[in-house]
Every structure is written in structure tokens, then in C-alpha cells.
């Protein structure tokens, strides 16, 4: 489905670009109040209108993009790096190490992700660092499980046994032969996680447990727009659409990756 990939990449460029630009420049200062122009609809001066405090919506969206995407990228990198090592070690070594790690992982997996994130936020406190750690820890068990299961199936392949027969050490085999062949499922889970983090972060912000106003994130902008449905619908449409587009992009790219790494294709 090449079309999928193209649309996905276009969206990534759009949103990623907005985030990148937003880090350095926005049309208006996202925090600047302008009570005279509050709740004005989209116009040439303010492409996406202004909010209840007269702040430019577009600028806030761009800054929000930087925040949300920044958090998502950091969280995914953190969880994937740790999860990769743990899953690799657990799956390769088996025995008591594996059983111990899996017991802890399963205990954490017994909770739905968002719930675990909520519980961790309670402990770690809201704010960017808290959110990154909470979301990373909440998704980590899933990453570990997936890496471990990939490792387990790769271990059965003859080339892993061959590596041992040639005389390579366990560590060499793990890092040179097993890990690179796990990259396919790892990249798929990384994209899924990315989407999940965007959604979770905006949900948490929506509930008031994420990044706090006045710093804009898509989630808290959406939350703040609720009282103004009748008067200023654009206030809800804009941030919601951004979240949806970001999710769509990750889903499309995730699909493309899954197709590309389809085992049937690799075998041929």
C-alpha cells in the first residue's frame, strides 16, 4: 500500500515540521494575552483564530506540537532502549533470570496501560519529566514482551545455533545475530508506542494530569475548549484534528513497516 506510506510521511513532515519550527518560531507569542481579540474566528491575521484569552491558536498548536511530539519521542526512545536490552537478555539467557523478569513484567502487564500511567503520575508528579517516566514505564512491559518473543523465535533459527558452533560467545551471538534481526518487530512496536504516547499524553493533559496550562499541549487545549462549544467550535476542532492526524500518521507508517517486514516476504 504505497499510498499509505506517502500519506503517512506527508503527515509526519507536516506535523514534525510544525513541531520543529514551533521550537524556534511561532507567528505570535503563544502565551501572549490579547483580551480585545478573544474568541475571534479564523482570519488572515489569525489563521486558526484566538482562544478565550486572545492567544493565537496556531502558535499554541505549534508549541503544543513541539511539546507533545518531544515528549513522545523521548518516551519511546527511553522505553525501547531499556526494553530492548531487558527483552534480549531475558530471552537469550532464559532460566531464572528470565522467570524473574517475566514475573515482574507480567505483574505490570496485569494493569491497563493508561491506568498504570495514572498511578505512576500520582507517584512521580505531573509535569514533563513525570509524564515521560510514567508513560515509558507504563508501556515498557509490552515492549519487553514483544522483544522477548521475537528473541525466542529467532533463537530457534539455525543460524543462531551455527553461530554457537563456530565458536562465538553468547554475548556476540546476542548482539550480532539476534538483536539486528529483532529490529523489524521493534520498529513496529516503536511506532505503535509512539501513537499510544501521543494519545495518552493528550488524554492525561485533557484530564488535567499532564502538562499544566498555560503551557499549551493539544490535550489541555481541547479540555479548555469545552465551555466554548457554541461560540468557538474551532477551538476544539484544531487541537483534536492535530491529535487525530498524528495518530493517523503513526498508524499508516506502522502498517507500512508491518507489511515490509512480513515474514513471507523476507523468506522468498
Amino acid at each position: 500500500m504505497k499510498l499509505n506510506l506517502i500519506i503517512g510521511l506527508l503527515l509526519v513532515i507536516l506535523l514534525g515540521g510544525a513541531a520543529a519550527i514551533g521550537a524556534a518560531w511561532t507567528p505570535y507569542n503563544p502565551m501572549q494575552l490579547d483580551m480585545l481579540n478573544r474568541l475571534s474566528p479564523p482570519s488572515p491575521a489569525h489563521w486558526l483564530g484566538t482562544d478565550e484569552f486572545g492567544r493565537d491558536v496556531l502558535s499554541r498548536l505549534m508549541t503544543g506540537a513541539t511539546t507533545s511530539i518531544g515528549i513522545a519521542v523521548t518516551t519511546v526512545l527511553l522505553a525501547v532502549s531499556v526494553g530492548m536490552i531487558v527483552g534480549l537478555v531475558s530471552g537469550s539467557l532464559r532460566g531464572w533470570t528470565d522467570r524473574g523478569l517475566m514475573a515482574v513484567t507480567d505483574a505490570l502487564l496485569a494493569f491497563p496501560g493508561i491506568l498504570l500511567a495514572l498511578a505512576l503520575i500520582v507517584i512521580l508528579g505531573a509535569g514533563s519529566t513525570g509524564i515521560i517516566l510514567a508513560l515509558a514505564l507504563a508501556y515498557l512491559p509490552a515492549v519487553i514482551r514483544i522483544v522477548r518473543s521475537a528473541v525466542l523465535s529467532i533463537r530457534e533459527k539455525e543460524y543462531v545455533e551455527a553461530s554457537k558452533v563456530i565458536g562465538n560467545s553468547q554475548a556476540y551471538t546476542m548482539f550480532v545475530h539476534i538483536l539486528p534481526n529483532c529490529l523489524a518487530p521493534i520498529s513496529v512496536v516503536a511506532t505503535s508506542m509512539f501513537g499510544w504516547v501521543i494519545l495518552a499524553e493528550s488524554a492525561l493533559s485533557f484530564l488535567g494530569l499532564g502538562v499544566a496550562p498555560p503551557a499549551p499541549t493539544w490535550g489541555n487545549m481541547l479540555s479548555a475548549s469545552q465551555p466554548y462549544f457554541e461560540r468557538a467550535l474551532w477551538l476544539s476542532l484544531a487541537p483534536g484534528a492535530c491529535i487525530a492526524l498524528a495518530l493517523l500518521a503513526t498508524n499508516l507508517i506502522g502498517d507500512a513497516l508491518r507489511d515490509r517486514f512480513d515474514p513471507r516476504r523476507l523468506q522468498a
Binding site: 505483574a107 495514572l118 500520582v122 484530564l207 481541547l222 462549544f229 487525530a244 492526524l245 498508524n251
Partner: protein, 314 residues
Amino acid sequence: MLTYLTRRLSMMLLTLSLVAVTVFVLIRLVPGDSATLMLGEAGSPEQLAVLRARWGLDQPWPIQFLYWVKGMLTGDFGISTRTGEPVLPLILARFQVSAVIVLTAMVIAVLIAVPVGLYAAWKQNSWADLAVVSVATLLLSIPSFWLGLLLLVIFGLKLGWLPILGYVGFGEDFSRATSFVILPVATLALIEIGVLVRMARASAIEVLRLEYVTHARAKGLPEWRVLAFHVFPNAFAPTLTLIGLILGNLLGGIAVLETVFTLPGMGRLLVESIFARDYPVVQGCLLLTGVIFVLINLFVDMLYPIFDPRVARA
């Protein structure tokens, strides 16, 4: 088959214990004196002392844990620091609301998604298939709270067909209760349809490639029989597992929808309690959700052998 069941049950007991331990540890990790957290500001020093003794809050953690478990087994989950009510009845009442919405949405989603997914797999790469996949991908990319808001704006504000706020129990007034529940159920169902259709389609595509499907056709069976008796049972198993996972996730994520539609459900209770630092309630909600998730997965595991008999042997 019996060994499979007993093994699953014993693993479940183990997991439940782990869940209890995890919840306990998580709450104890909250910064602050755990005794004050659990007891709150209200109450006289004497009352506090009584409660403190009852739950062993001055004792080391392992002892506290045993007190807690003993309390739970007798139905005593503590007192809400916010309202002073016992925690368990409070949570259960709110849980009922969440459960009704989640289960109804799930049933509707499964009934629609599975046949559609099978059909799309059967007609793979046709226009119909393309349409199904595109719609499903769009649906699952929409954040639930945004979809809920939009539906609320359209059907509640603009068209005025359905109420925006409020809730009435089903026992009290069935038709009014339904009107409050339609939108949240529809929102959830739509998004879950997106997820389930893709999974059902993917596993059906896998199965359609397998030789026993060609064999069934080679017997002269009409397509519908092939799909219903040979493809569906084998393709459904992974979707069943996914359903279990989704149900669990919904229990966690329902908080946002309940906030949008102002429903007195467990998710909203959890969030409110977090803000109010009502830790006994937070603890109770976490525990209940964890336990239910484990039970759901057990249920799924027990249903699994019906669709994949090979599992029963392991």
C-alpha cells in the same frame, strides 16, 4: 483440558497476588506519610488512632500488607478521605456505570467488526476491502475524547436530540437512562470497530492462505460454509485475545469519556480521587481494575481452546 484449566487458575491466583502487591507498593511509594495519606485530615486524633490501629498503618510494609489483605477479604477497603464513606460500595456503584457502557460498546463493536473484517479479507485488495481498511484506520486514529466531544456537539448541541449532561440509573428510568448512554457507547463502539476490523481482517487473511481452506473448497463446499466453519473459528482466536486486552484498556481509558459526558463512572472517580488525594479510593480503583483485567484474560484463555484446540494440550 482439565490440566489446562487448573494450570490457568493457579497462574491466575499468582497474578492476582502480584496485582495486589503492585497496587500496595505503588500507593506506598507516593511521597508523604502513608498514614496521613490513607486517613486524611478529617477526624479527631482518637478516631485516627483507631483507624491507624485497625489497618496497622504504623507497622512495617509487609505487616501493613497483611492487614490490608485481611481487610479486603472481609470487605473492608478503607474509608474515603473525601467523603468518609466506605470505599468498596462506592467503587462498585460507579463501576456498574462504567461496565454497562464498556460491555455494550464492545458487544456492538464485535458484532459489526468481525463479519466486516472477514468480508474484507475474503475480498482482499478489492475496492470494498480498501474502503473498509481506510475507514477502520481513520476510526482508530481519532482520539476517543475528541470523537465524543464532536458527537456531543452534533447530536446534543446542534441537533438537540440527546442530552449533554447528566445521568440516570437504568433501574430508575429506562428510556431516559438510555438517552444518556447512547453517545458514549457509540463513541467507544466506533473506535473499537476500527481496531477490531483490522485484526479480524489480518487474521482471516492469514488463515485464507492455509491449505485446509483450499481443501475445504476442494470438497465442493460453498464459500459461505468455508468462511463460517473453516476460516472464522481459526481466525477468531487472535481477535479474541485482542478483545480481552481492549476491554482491559477501556477500563483504564474510560476516564476521559466519562469526563466528556459527565458520567458517574469509575474512571472519573479515579481521576477525581487523584486530584483530591483520596488515596484509599485510588488504591481501591486500581486494585479492582487490575483484578477485573486478570479475570477477563482468564475468561479469554478459557474460551480460547474452543477456537484453537491445540492449546488445550499444552
